[in-house]
Structures are given as structure tokens and as C-alpha cells.
Assembly symmetry: C2
Homo-oligomer: 343 residues x 2
């Protein structure tokens, strides 16, 4: 039985969005139990509704009045957030009462508190946020998506290793191809850190199937299985992509509803169109895992809905079931050995 | 009569794509004359074809065997590229024989050579690449898109001023709103340079209508008229957006052609759908202007086709017609005065 700790108060539309997400996730994972941390006066009345009857027995509520707000600094959250819904959820993971934490709250606070409470895997300098992005030929792992504003070449190399293991575990690809995000494919382009990271990755072909620089348009083209970048670039790339996906989907829906004939046209195309829309819907790819922690912590978009939150829960459960943590701990020493050997 | 210098050999599909672009642009701008620099043996036979008869009298060819290759370093191009198709086109602009230069060649080489040959506007520390991006409510100016890998706070402030004047000139918006790209809307997020640039922009409300930080998904939402960023972030954001736009358009075309009913459905929707596709087509937004030079130089995507190249030509001609250069020279001193006053 997997146990999932949920920050019941994180995100713009909590706790309703959170409870709705649990309802959806529980259908996919019938053997999972949920512990929701947050304001019982707000959560209990929701669970009492008939709509949520299927999950009443699967959800425990641990009450707290305190929350970490969306604009709170990480240092402030660390100082006074112990008893917040986020802090208590992380504490449950630290004390092995649950197998993972899902939160749609403040990203910096979640990362800051998780680093202190869950601890970073020994040897990893910085955790990174990883997520799956839909591509023309399947899915690609992107990391870092914003855990760190910058990254050293060695940290980028570590991200590449963690991304490889994540692709390995969640996509089932044995030797995933890895690229570094840059603004050109030539070796002399881009920031010093990125070029130095490329030099490191070129030296460990046994460990990483490195394919060179990837430009941002090549991410969705599915040129490689794992795209590595610093968190500032990754956050910009991911959000730019989500923005355009939303823009185009709204635009095409406006085309549908623009006239009588277009509505009939839509009716005739609705099956494959809905299938395609589902595949590229950012909510279906919601949920970034903090790689490099001694525990599974998943960040959901703050602005998502219950469908998106359910996917963030799925990401957490899948990461547990694929044994990601054990694989990182098993493979990390080989990279550190390479490093020690002067690679 | 406007005269446009064209690098006839830049881009993946030159010179055919270039000549095709001139044909399309000449329909929109009947009073423009084109001077194409490149290999006469390759260009002349194209112009001799019946298809291109409408532009035979509008095109002069200046022969050169030399080209700047796509993977050549800027320093190498500067050293030996004087007589290349790119170098000769820039030289024609320097000698006032033409009003602008359009090239689909090597970006770094074009910028490097242009800075030396065309010179940077006095007072501008770094030129920036600017382009128009389609949004839900119209178009937004993005800069820098890759002229510089990094930017100081003062350089970002200068980009904001140049972007404002560009929006003013090309979009006709009198007091365009300006935002800084960042990974969060809160004042304490993001790199030091971006936060310092925000502090500078907040001090000059008379000059710049600054609206704060913009996240990458808010660019296409049209939250502001001008989005300012360093060239590395801008290049990543733009390419990520183009990649998704292409991916979604291919996906939707696959939906159309997936069956008999979907084809009928497409037929019924084709009018508004084609209109929408045209609006978001990256080729229709091809052409980035190098702002901050004493002349109009436009970089076209290397991989574009004749439709895209025609739009790059349009960008150059529109920028001339809107009197952009004169406006920069008129407004720049006010920013520098603010700066001198300790803003």
C-alpha cells in the first residue's frame, strides 16, 4: 500500500482542486492511501459531499491552520513553515510515514524546506526539477525546470545522470539519449558553463549517451530523450511551450465555435482531435519531480485544476513504483568515480 | 525608392528561397529595388525562369564567389568575410547605396560584421535582436533574441528603450507597456541582473511604461507590448515557442488527414482554420531586426522558405518606413540623461 502526503492548501484553487485530483487519481490507483494536510474546516465539508464519497475511506486529514503563501521567500518558509500544510507533509515523508509528497504550493519554499527536511542524496550538489514534455515521437525528460537559477558544469553533468535515470525508470528507455540545451548546435556557441558541461559529458560515453547541444525548438521535436539545462533556462523554455500550447488550443477552439459549418466540421473531427488535444494538454504533463532528494517530492503547477493535480499525483506514484531513488543511489557512484578520475 | 541589399547565399535553401522571397515581397512593395549579393552562376539562371519574370527588372546581382558558412565563428567571418555575399551586402549599407540588409546567414557573423561595418548607435552599449511575436491580442516585441548571451542591468534598460521605440514605430503604440522576462512575478525572484534592471526601469516611468516581471507563458498571452530579456533566454523562449507552434500545427494536420470524416470536417472549417494558422505561422513572423545599429539589418531564419524570407524583407522595409532609426537617435539621449542623473 502506497501512502501519499498531500499539501491540501497549496495552489490557487485548493483545497477543492486537491480533493478533486485525489478523486481522479484514486480511480487509477485503487490501492493508494492519501493523507491531506490542511484546514479541516475547509477540507472535511468537501469530503462529505456525495461526489467525493468514493474516496472518503482513502483520505485522512491532518489539521493545520498554517500555510506557506505563494509569495513567501524560501528562507521565511523554512523559518516559520514547520507546521504549515507543506511543512507537515514533508515531515511525514521524513519520518517515513508516507512514500511521497505532492504540493501545488510555493516552489522555492517547497524546494528549500525539502532540501533541509528530506536531505539531498549524498554526492549530489543540487537537486533539480524534472518533468516529462510531450514530443512528436513520445515524451522527453526536461531538467532543471527552476530549482536553481544557475548551474555549474559539474551540476549540469549530475542533472544529466539524474535525468538519464529518470528517463530510464519512468519511460523505460535503457540508454536514453541526452542533450544540453543551448542556442546553437555548434561547439563554440553558448555560455561557458554549458560548453564546459558538454566537455564533461563527452568524456563519459559509457555512462551517458550524450548527443550534443539541443536548441529549444528541438525539445518537442523529440531529438533526445533527456534535455539538460539550468533552472532559469528550463523554466523559461517550459513556460514558453505551455503558453503557446494553451494559446493554440484556445485559438483552435475559437475556430470551431466561429460558425455553423465549423461546428459541424468539429463534430466530424472530434474523436482524433480530442485525442490529440489530450496528448498536448499541459495539465496531462503536470508534476515536476525534485530529483536528488532522499525522497519523492512532486511540485504541481499552482494554477492547475483537478485533472492536472491528479497527474502530479500520478507522477509521484509512478516514480515510486519505478524505483527511481534506488537507481540513483546505485548509479551515482559511477559518475563520481569518473569525476574523481579526472573526466 | 527604397533599395534593399540581400545576402543571396545565406540560409539553407538559398539562393532559390531568397529569389522566391523577393518575388513575394515585390508584390507587396512594388516600388522597392533589390540588390542581391552572391554567385551569379546560381542566381542568374533562376531569374531567367518565367516564374520570376515579374522581378527581373527589380533585381541587380552583384557577383561574389565567397560566402560566410553557417558554422563559421564571428571573428573568422570578420577577418575574411569582407568579400562574402554577407560582407558585400553590409558594405553597400555602410556606403549608403541601400536602405537595409536582409540575410538568412550565420547570426553571430552577421551581428559581428554589422557592429564593425555599420557601427553601433552612440550611447548604445550592445545592439539587440528584436522580433514580433503573435499573441492572443495582437503582437508583442521580444528582444534580445540572441545578439548577446548575457546582458547587464543597464543594457537591459537600453533594450527596453529600443524595444519601446520599435513597438512605437512598427505597432503604432504610443506608450507601449514593457515587461522583463523572469521566472516569477515576485520582486525577489530571478537572476541579480534582471532584478537590478527592474529597479532601473521602475525609476523612469516618464520614459518607459514598465509593468514588472513577465513569465514566459505570458508572452503569447499578450500581457505587455514589449518583453525584454538577455539574448540567451530570448533565443530559448522564441525557439521553444516556434517548436511548439510547428508541433501543434503538424499534429492538427495529421488529425485532418486521419480519415474520411475528418477530411470533410476540415473542409468545413478550412476558411477560419487557415486564417488562424496563417496568424500563428512562425514564417509570418520571421525576421529579427538588429536594434542599436546605425542602419537596418534584418536576420531571417536560416531554415525558412520563400514565404518566411519575404516576411523578413517586409520587416526591413517597414522598419525603414516607420523611421525607427531617427526615433532611436531622438529618444536615446533622454534615457542617458536619466542614467546620468543617478536613476
Amino acid at each position: 500500500m502506497i501512502k501519499v502526503a498531500i499539501d491540501g492548501m497549496g495552489g490557487d484553487r485548493s483545497p477543492l482542486m486537491v480533493i478533486g485530483g485525489i478523486l481522479r487519481a484514486a480511480q487509477r490507483y485503487p490501492n493508494v492511501h492519501f493523507i491531506v494536510f490542511g484546514n479541516r474546516d475547509k477540507i472535511q465539508p468537501l469530503l462529505a459531499k456525495k461526489h467525493f464519497a468514493p474516496i472518503v475511506d482513502k483520505v485522512d486529514i491532518i489539521h493545520t491552520d498554517e500555510v506557506v503563501t505563494m509569495d513567501e521567500s524560501p528562507s521565511n518558509a523554512i523559518r516559520r513553515g514547520r507546521n504549515s500544510s507543506m511543512g507537515l507533509a514533508l515531515n511525514a515523508l521524513r519520518e517515513n510515514q508516507v512514500d511521497c509528497v505532492i504540493s501545488a504550493g510555493n516552489t522555492g519554499a517547497l524546494m528549500g524546506m525539502a532540501k533541509i527536511m528530506i536531505k539531498v542524496v549524498e554526492g549530489i550538489e543540487r537537486p533539480a526539477m524534472a518533468s516529462l514534455c510531450p514530443t512528436i515521437r513520445g515524451e522527453t525528460v526536461m531538467l532543471d525546470l527552476g530549482a536553481n537559477i544557475s548551474a555549474t558544469p559539474y551540476q549540469l553533468e549530475q542533472f544529466a545522470l539524474m535525468g538519464k535515470i529518470f528517463a530510464n525508470a519512468t519511460l523505460g528507455i535503457e540508454k536514453p539519449t541526452v542533450g544540453l540545451l543551448n542556442i546553437g548546435s555548434e561547439a563554440l556557441k553558448g555560455p561557458d558553463e554549458v560548453r564546459a558541461a558538454a566537455a564533461l559529458l563527452e568524456k563519459i560515453p559509457e555512462t551517458i549517451n550524450y548527443k550534443g547541444f539541443i536548441e529549444a525548438n528541438e525539445i518537442v521535436a523529440g531529438k533526445v530523450d533527456v534535455v539538460v539545462m539550468d533552472g532559469y533556462s528550463g523554466n523559461i523554455a517550459l513556460k514558453a511551450m505551455e503558453g503557446v500550447a494553451n494559446f493554440l488550443m484556445i485559438g483552435i477552439k475559437n475556430v470551431y465555435s466561429s460558425g455553423f459549418l465549423t461546428k459541424i466540421g468539429f463534430f466530424l473531427m472530434r474523436g482524433p482531435m480530442k485525442h490529440f488535444f489530450h496528448r498536448v494538454d499541459p495539465r496531462v504533463h503536470n508534476g515536476a519531480v525534485f530529483l536528488g532528494l532522499n525522497g519523492i517530492v512532486v511540485k504541481s503547477h499552482g494554477g492547475t485544476d483537478s485533472l492536472g493535480f491528479a497527474h502530479a499525483i500520478s507522477v509521484g506514484i509512478d516514480t515510486i513504483q519505478h524505483g527511481f531513488l534506488a537507481k540513483v543511489n546505485a548509479e551515482l557512484p559511477s559518475l563520481m568515480r569518473d569525476e574523481a578520475n579526472g573526466s
